[in-house]
Amino acid sequence: MLGIASPELALAYLLCIAASVLCVIYGIVKWNDTGPLSEELRDLDQWASDEPAD
């Protein structure tokens, strides 16, 4: 396949491209997925540390 003698190495060649494509698709799908911001997380920690102990 693709002029490469060993099917295992042809698979390696294709998987390199597939892994890159996976990264691109993941990046596009999750482009605006922020999760919690570091600043919000820090505020949350500040708030939590001000809390009285249970």
Partner: protein, 532 residues
């Protein structure tokens, strides 16, 4: 020569401008150590990629691909899938969130805070500070040799000038300067590697004809490689032959998995403000790494066809047996003149981006982790302590650079990757995912993994053990495994990457000792997991 010097000056002017920008924006300790936790995703991804890929990944491993062929593409696959996708998605996001919860400023500090242990932070900092200068010296030696050949500068002068340039912007501008310059350097590397692969495939009539020509070249495979188990460049190696073990365990397993526990890479996850930057960095990083090692390995292997067509010899024969010369010779003899100049700059960029990050992580490991936390020394300005740490790291690297032989490049890289994986990976991974991981488990795993990896590197794995010579001095043999029956499992250990043994040992110690030792305080675990 004039064109070379003008382009080098333009390149340096941009690097200094970006270094100055980083310095101007550095006001607090978190700016110096974590780029203010507000880094742009493109800059983060390019910085991660450019740090990951040094000159030796392109020149050294590209030359190895000329020798071993396409099996090295498994390493590219791991570089992308493990080094980018798994790293950013499964390690990066948790590292960022836990890093904020624990107010960690460095990779050792993340581990130290997670396990509430000054020893863990101090030990990690010491391992990084002691061994990263050797790895950095290997990169420095490589690029200084290129400066010597490319611009005709004396080797020692090249070593000193190169270190001085890096010292100027890393000491003053901290991680912001490092990451801004990395992004520029990464972009230059990206453009040159894209041009290189387009040129090579075009010269050989396209993708499939190029591969077919390489397949047909198999009878030219040198006899010593055939004896070691090689069948051809696109045919691979005989399973479990000595060369198969070298390729699949050292190159692929050792370097491919070792990337997950590289402190200079892991710290970058904590430089961004949200998961969004990491998600976008996955996209940039996946494409970047394909064009780095993917192109280097494909072109390295195909250089055999080009050299054979033009000179009647395969690559390693043209290079007189020195595989580190194959890619530079390919650029000089086959590519156009204008390309040679720009490629030389791209290689400077690859070396500088890796070195700047090595100096920065070595410096913060010494300043923040070992001096401030491990030795509990307080009261001095945090930025100053880290600047002194970076300065000391550069000084030690320079001394190693003047002492070590050039042949140490690949060894030093494997040494550092191996030690980092065995020492840090189980504590880091289980620390992010398993509440049951205890302080004793982390300490035992780190010390046990380090000791096992170190023992195998010094006494068993023939490549390093022979070069270091301690095994020969103590036991009179190059490797302790050489005394076992030829072909047996124990005999084959001398060709097997130390981490095939050391990493499982480190994982087992982490799990078993954690089961047997008291759990960390529940309140602390709630804090660690608060943001996850």
């Amino acid at each position: 020569m004039t064109v070379k010097i003008i382009l080098a000056l333009i390149y340096l002017a941009v690097v200094f401008y970006l270094g100055y920008k980083g310095w101007r924006e550095t006001r607090r300790a978190s700016d110096y150590m974590l780029a203010g936790r507000q880094m742009n995703p493109f800059v983060m991804a390019m910085s991660y990629g450019a740090t990951f890929i040094s000159t030796s990944a392109i020149i050294g491993f590209g030359g190895a691909a000329a020798l071993f062929g396409f099996p090295l593409l498994w390493l590219t696959f791991l570089n992308i899938f493990v080094g980018i996708f798994i790293a950013m998605v499964f390690f990066g996001k948790r590292t960022r969130r836990m890093g904020v919860a624990l107010d960690a400023h460095t990779f050792p500090e993340l581990l130290g805070q997670r396990f509430q242990s000054r020893f863990v932070q101090g030990f990690s900092g010491a391992v990084i500070f002691l061994f990263i200068p050797v790895y950095a010296a290997a990169v420095l030696i490589g690029i200084s040799r290129m400066l010597e050949v490319g611009l005709g500068i004396n080797y020692t002068v090249a070593l000193l000038v190169f270190s001085a340039i890096l010292a100027l912007y890393v000491i003053t501008g901290g991680l912001k300067a490092v990451m801004y310059t990395d992004a520029f350097q990464g972009t230059l590397m990206f453009v040159m590697m894209v041009l290189l692969v387009i040129f090579t495939y075009s010269a050989l009539g396209g993708l499939t004809p190029a591969h077919k020509a390489l397949t047909d070249l198999a009878p030219q495979m040198p006899a010593n490689l055939k004896a070691g188990g090689m069948l051809g460049w696109t045919q691979g190696a005989e399973p479990f032959s000595p060369l198969w073990l070298v390729i699949y365990t050292t190159i692929i397993y050792g370097v491919g998995i070792g990337v997950l526990a590289q402190p200079q890479l892991a710290v970058r996850y904590m430089t961004v403000a949200s998961d969004r930057e990491l998600n976008r960095a996955v996209l940039f990083g996946g494409v970047f790494i394909l064009t780095m090692t993917g192109v280097a390995f494909v072109v390295g292997a195909l250089s055999n066809v080009v050299f054979f067509k033009n000179f009647g010899k395969i690559a390693v024969a043209v290079a007189g047996g020195n595989i580190d010369k194959i890619i530079p010779l390919y650029i000089t003899k086959v590519m156009p003149d204008w390309f040679e100049v720009l490629f030389l700059l791209a290689m400077f960029a690859a070396a500088m981006s890796t070195l700047s990050s090595q100096f920065h992580v070595g410096g913060t490991s010494l300043g923040r982790d070992f001096y401030e936390r491990g030795l509990a020394s307080r009261g001095r300005n945090e930025i100053t302590v880290n600047r002194v740490g970076v300065g000391v790291t550069i000084g030690v690297t320079l001394i190693w650079g003047l002492l070590l032989p050039p042949s140490i490049i690949a060894l030093a890289t494997a040494f550092f990757f191996g030690l980092c994986a065995a020492s840090f990976l189980p504590a880091y991974f289980l620390g992010l995912y398993w509440k049951g991981m205890t302080r004793a488990g982390a300490i035992t795993s780190m010390a046990g993994g380090f000791a096992t990896s170190f023992f195998f590197l010094l006494f068993v794995h023939a490549k390093e053990a022979k070069a270091i010579g301690l095994c020969k001095a103590v036991f009179g043999v190059d490797s302790l495994a050489a005394g076992f029956a030829k072909g047996s499992g124990l005999w084959l250990l001398q060709f097997t990457d130390p981490n095939i043994i050391a990493l499982p040992v480190s994982f087992i110690l982490a799990v078993v000792v954690s089961w047997l030792s008291p759990r960390l305080d529940e309140g602390h675990l709630r804090l660690c997991w608060r943001n996850l």
